[in-house]
Protein backbone atom coordinates (compact mmCIF):
# COMPACT_ATOMS: atom_id res chain seq x y z
CA UNK A 1 0.00 0.00 0.00
CA UNK A 2 1.59 3.23 -1.09
CA UNK A 3 0.66 5.17 2.01
CA UNK A 4 3.02 7.39 3.91
CA UNK A 5 2.13 6.29 7.44
CA UNK A 6 4.27 8.91 9.17
CA UNK A 7 2.56 11.73 7.27
CA UNK A 8 -0.83 10.24 8.10
CA UNK A 9 0.08 9.86 11.79
CA UNK A 10 0.93 13.56 12.02
CA UNK A 11 -2.25 14.62 10.19
CA UNK A 12 -4.33 12.26 12.34
CA UNK A 13 -2.83 13.52 15.62
CA UNK A 14 -3.65 17.07 14.56
CA UNK A 15 -7.19 16.03 13.61
CA UNK A 16 -7.74 14.39 17.02
CA UNK A 17 -6.35 17.41 18.86
CA UNK A 18 -8.48 19.89 16.94
CA UNK A 19 -11.63 17.77 16.85
CA UNK A 20 -11.77 16.16 20.29
CA UNK A 21 -13.89 18.79 22.04
CA UNK A 22 -16.40 18.89 19.15
CA UNK A 23 -16.48 15.09 18.93
CA UNK A 24 -17.16 14.74 22.63
CA UNK A 25 -19.88 17.38 22.34
CA UNK A 26 -21.60 15.16 19.76
CA UNK A 27 -20.72 17.11 16.60
CA UNK A 28 -19.37 13.97 15.00
CA UNK A 29 -20.31 14.76 11.40
CA UNK A 30 -18.53 18.11 11.50
CA UNK A 31 -15.37 16.50 12.86
CA UNK A 32 -15.47 13.61 10.40
CA UNK A 33 -15.66 16.04 7.46
CA UNK A 34 -12.16 17.17 8.38
CA UNK A 35 -10.75 13.61 8.65
CA UNK A 36 -7.42 13.18 6.79
CA UNK A 37 -8.63 10.33 4.57
CA UNK A 38 -5.88 8.05 3.28
CA UNK A 39 -6.43 7.13 -0.35
CA UNK A 40 -3.69 6.46 -2.84
CA UNK A 41 -4.47 7.54 -6.42
CA UNK A 42 -3.93 4.06 -7.79
CA UNK A 43 -6.86 1.66 -7.33
CA UNK A 44 -5.63 -1.84 -6.39
CA UNK A 45 -6.95 -4.63 -8.59
CA UNK A 46 -7.03 -8.42 -8.53
CA UNK A 47 -8.42 -9.77 -11.82
CA UNK A 48 -11.39 -12.11 -11.44
CA UNK A 49 -10.96 -15.70 -12.60
CA UNK A 50 -13.30 -18.67 -12.38
CA UNK A 51 -16.92 -18.87 -11.30
CA UNK A 52 -18.59 -17.94 -7.99
CA UNK A 53 -20.17 -21.40 -7.98
CA UNK A 54 -16.68 -22.83 -7.47
CA UNK A 55 -15.43 -20.20 -5.00
CA UNK A 56 -15.53 -19.22 -1.34
CA UNK A 57 -17.06 -15.92 -0.25
CA UNK A 58 -16.82 -14.08 3.07
CA UNK A 59 -18.62 -11.02 4.40
CA UNK A 60 -17.02 -8.05 6.11
CA UNK A 61 -19.18 -5.35 7.65
CA UNK A 62 -18.43 -2.19 9.57
CA UNK A 63 -21.78 -2.40 11.33
CA UNK A 64 -20.41 -3.01 14.83
CA UNK A 65 -21.76 -6.56 15.07
CA UNK A 66 -20.68 -8.83 17.91
CA UNK A 67 -22.02 -12.02 19.44
CA UNK A 68 -23.97 -11.21 22.57
CA UNK A 69 -22.75 -13.07 25.62
CA UNK A 70 -19.52 -14.40 24.12
CA UNK A 71 -17.81 -11.34 22.60
CA UNK A 72 -17.23 -7.86 24.02
CA UNK A 73 -18.97 -4.95 22.31
CA UNK A 74 -16.88 -2.32 20.51
CA UNK A 75 -15.70 0.92 22.09
CA UNK A 76 -18.28 3.42 20.82
CA UNK A 77 -17.14 6.49 22.78
CA UNK A 78 -13.55 7.14 21.72
CA UNK A 79 -12.73 9.59 18.93
CA UNK A 80 -10.33 6.88 17.69
CA UNK A 81 -13.21 4.48 17.30
CA UNK A 82 -12.36 0.81 17.78
CA UNK A 83 -9.90 -0.80 15.31
CA UNK A 84 -10.60 -4.36 16.47
CA UNK A 85 -12.91 -6.81 14.69
CA UNK A 86 -15.18 -9.66 15.74
CA UNK A 87 -15.33 -13.08 14.10
CA UNK A 88 -18.88 -14.06 13.20
CA UNK A 89 -19.37 -17.77 12.42
CA UNK A 90 -21.56 -18.93 9.55
CA UNK A 91 -23.93 -20.43 12.12
CA UNK A 92 -24.76 -17.05 13.74
CA UNK A 93 -28.45 -16.11 13.69
CA UNK A 94 -30.48 -12.95 14.23
CA UNK A 95 -30.85 -13.43 17.98
CA UNK A 96 -27.10 -13.87 18.48
CA UNK A 97 -26.14 -10.39 17.30
CA UNK A 98 -25.49 -7.29 19.33
CA UNK A 99 -24.71 -3.99 17.59
CA UNK A 100 -22.15 -1.57 19.06
CA UNK A 101 -21.86 1.43 16.74
CA UNK A 102 -22.88 4.93 17.80
CA UNK A 103 -23.39 6.48 14.37
CA UNK A 104 -26.26 4.74 12.62
CA UNK A 105 -29.85 3.77 13.37
CA UNK A 106 -29.83 0.10 14.37
CA UNK A 107 -33.57 -0.42 14.14
CA UNK A 108 -33.68 -1.94 10.65
CA UNK A 109 -30.80 -4.36 11.30
CA UNK A 110 -32.37 -5.33 14.62
CA UNK A 111 -35.45 -6.40 12.66
CA UNK A 112 -33.45 -8.20 9.98
CA UNK A 113 -29.67 -8.42 10.25
CA UNK A 114 -29.53 -9.34 6.54
CA UNK A 115 -29.95 -5.66 5.64
CA UNK A 116 -26.32 -5.11 6.65
CA UNK A 117 -25.04 -8.67 6.98
CA UNK A 118 -26.82 -10.89 4.45
CA UNK A 119 -25.49 -14.17 5.79
CA UNK A 120 -28.79 -16.08 5.47
CA UNK A 121 -29.18 -14.99 1.85
CA UNK A 122 -25.62 -16.14 1.09
CA UNK A 123 -26.30 -19.51 2.68
CA UNK A 124 -29.35 -19.83 0.40
CA UNK A 125 -27.19 -19.02 -2.63
CA UNK A 126 -24.72 -21.69 -1.50
CA UNK A 127 -27.59 -24.17 -1.19
CA UNK A 128 -28.67 -23.27 -4.74
CA UNK A 129 -25.10 -23.82 -6.00
CA UNK A 130 -24.72 -20.19 -7.04
CA UNK A 131 -21.86 -19.78 -4.56
CA UNK A 132 -19.40 -22.62 -4.06
CA UNK A 133 -18.91 -22.11 -0.35
CA UNK A 134 -19.92 -19.51 2.20
CA UNK A 135 -16.88 -19.13 4.47
CA UNK A 136 -17.06 -20.63 7.96
CA UNK A 137 -16.11 -17.24 9.44
CA UNK A 138 -17.16 -13.67 8.64
CA UNK A 139 -16.02 -10.39 10.16
CA UNK A 140 -17.35 -7.21 11.68
CA UNK A 141 -15.60 -3.98 12.42
CA UNK A 142 -17.31 -0.94 13.92
CA UNK A 143 -16.75 2.80 13.76
CA UNK A 144 -13.02 3.42 13.50
CA UNK A 145 -10.85 6.44 12.83
CA UNK A 146 -7.52 5.00 13.97
CA UNK A 147 -6.33 3.92 10.53
CA UNK A 148 -2.78 3.31 11.77
CA UNK A 149 -3.93 0.38 13.93
CA UNK A 150 -6.01 -0.90 11.01
CA UNK A 151 -3.07 -0.80 8.61
CA UNK A 152 -0.41 -2.16 10.93
CA UNK A 153 -2.43 -4.66 12.95
CA UNK A 154 -6.13 -5.43 12.42
CA UNK A 155 -6.32 -5.69 8.65
CA UNK A 156 -3.14 -7.80 8.24
CA UNK A 157 -4.56 -10.14 10.91
CA UNK A 158 -7.90 -10.28 9.08
CA UNK A 159 -6.22 -11.00 5.74
CA UNK A 160 -4.22 -13.88 7.25
CA UNK A 161 -7.43 -15.42 8.58
CA UNK A 162 -9.13 -15.07 5.19
CA UNK A 163 -6.15 -16.73 3.47
CA UNK A 164 -6.15 -19.59 5.99
CA UNK A 165 -9.86 -20.10 5.29
CA UNK A 166 -9.13 -20.11 1.52
CA UNK A 167 -11.51 -17.24 0.83
CA UNK A 168 -11.57 -16.03 -2.80
CA UNK A 169 -14.24 -13.33 -2.79
CA UNK A 170 -15.02 -10.61 -0.27
CA UNK A 171 -18.22 -8.61 0.03
CA UNK A 172 -17.77 -5.51 2.17
CA UNK A 173 -20.81 -3.80 3.63
CA UNK A 174 -20.53 -0.46 5.37
CA UNK A 175 -23.35 1.16 7.27
Amino acid sequence: MSIDLETFKAAYAKWVEEGLADFQAGNVLEVVKRYPLIVSEEVPWTPYKGSPSQQTLALVTSGGLYLKGTQPPFDTASIHGDPSFREIPKTARQEDFGIAHAHFDHSLAERDINVIFPLQRLIELERDNLIGRVAQMHYSFSYVNDAVSLITDSVPTLLRKLKTDKVDLLLLVPV
Binding site: P44, T46, I116, L130, V155
Partner: protein, 84 residues
Protein backbone atom coordinates in the same frame (compact mmCIF):
# COMPACT_ATOMS: atom_id res chain seq x y z
CA UNK B 1 -14.24 0.15 4.96
CA UNK B 2 -12.56 1.60 1.88
CA UNK B 3 -9.14 1.05 3.41
CA UNK B 4 -9.95 -2.57 4.31
CA UNK B 5 -11.27 -3.25 0.80
CA UNK B 6 -8.23 -1.76 -0.87
CA UNK B 7 -5.81 -3.68 1.36
CA UNK B 8 -7.71 -6.92 0.70
CA UNK B 9 -7.73 -6.37 -3.07
CA UNK B 10 -4.02 -5.63 -2.96
CA UNK B 11 -3.48 -8.88 -1.02
CA UNK B 12 -5.09 -10.89 -3.85
CA UNK B 13 -8.75 -11.13 -2.87
CA UNK B 14 -11.40 -10.11 -5.39
CA UNK B 15 -13.55 -7.60 -3.53
CA UNK B 16 -16.76 -5.67 -3.98
CA UNK B 17 -18.33 -3.18 -1.60
CA UNK B 18 -21.72 -1.58 -1.15
CA UNK B 19 -22.31 2.14 -0.80
CA UNK B 20 -25.06 4.76 -0.90
CA UNK B 21 -23.17 8.04 -1.04
CA UNK B 22 -21.72 8.90 -4.46
CA UNK B 23 -19.54 11.71 -3.15
CA UNK B 24 -18.01 9.59 -0.43
CA UNK B 25 -17.50 6.63 -2.79
CA UNK B 26 -15.70 8.90 -5.26
CA UNK B 27 -13.28 9.87 -2.49
CA UNK B 28 -12.73 6.32 -1.22
CA UNK B 29 -12.21 4.84 -4.70
CA UNK B 30 -13.13 1.20 -4.05
CA UNK B 31 -11.85 -1.37 -6.60
CA UNK B 32 -15.46 -2.49 -7.34
CA UNK B 33 -18.69 -1.23 -5.82
CA UNK B 34 -22.46 -1.19 -6.10
CA UNK B 35 -24.30 1.98 -5.20
CA UNK B 36 -27.79 1.64 -3.79
CA UNK B 37 -30.54 4.15 -3.04
CA UNK B 38 -31.14 2.80 0.45
CA UNK B 39 -30.62 4.66 3.71
CA UNK B 40 -27.81 4.26 6.21
CA UNK B 41 -27.74 1.00 8.08
CA UNK B 42 -29.65 -0.84 5.35
CA UNK B 43 -27.47 -1.47 2.31
CA UNK B 44 -29.63 -4.43 1.22
CA UNK B 45 -32.96 -2.64 1.39
CA UNK B 46 -35.96 -3.17 3.59
CA UNK B 47 -35.96 -5.67 6.47
CA UNK B 48 -37.61 -8.92 5.45
CA UNK B 49 -37.41 -8.24 1.71
CA UNK B 50 -35.78 -11.58 0.96
CA UNK B 51 -36.13 -11.34 -2.82
CA UNK B 52 -34.55 -7.88 -2.93
CA UNK B 53 -31.64 -8.98 -0.73
CA UNK B 54 -31.05 -12.00 -2.93
CA UNK B 55 -31.27 -9.90 -6.10
CA UNK B 56 -28.59 -7.51 -4.82
CA UNK B 57 -26.29 -10.40 -3.91
CA UNK B 58 -26.77 -11.78 -7.43
CA UNK B 59 -25.91 -8.31 -8.77
CA UNK B 60 -22.76 -8.36 -6.63
CA UNK B 61 -21.69 -11.78 -7.97
CA UNK B 62 -22.33 -10.58 -11.52
CA UNK B 63 -20.30 -7.43 -10.87
CA UNK B 64 -17.40 -9.45 -9.41
CA UNK B 65 -17.32 -11.57 -12.57
CA UNK B 66 -17.76 -8.84 -15.14
CA UNK B 67 -16.27 -5.55 -13.92
CA UNK B 68 -13.00 -5.02 -15.74
CA UNK B 69 -11.99 -1.47 -14.91
CA UNK B 70 -10.49 -0.74 -11.47
CA UNK B 71 -12.70 1.71 -9.60
CA UNK B 72 -15.98 0.76 -11.31
CA UNK B 73 -19.09 1.82 -9.38
CA UNK B 74 -22.42 0.47 -10.69
CA UNK B 75 -25.66 2.08 -9.61
CA UNK B 76 -28.53 -0.27 -8.79
CA UNK B 77 -32.06 0.90 -9.68
CA UNK B 78 -34.02 -0.44 -6.70
CA UNK B 79 -36.12 2.20 -4.94
CA UNK B 80 -36.04 2.71 -1.20
CA UNK B 81 -39.23 2.46 0.77
CA UNK B 82 -38.34 3.02 4.37
CA UNK B 83 -40.54 0.72 6.40
CA UNK B 84 -42.69 2.14 9.20
Amino acid sequence: MGLIQRMAEEAGFVTISMGNDAERMAKIKPPRALRVKFGRGSMFGEPGNVERQRRILMDALEALRTMEVPGTIRELPYPWRRPD
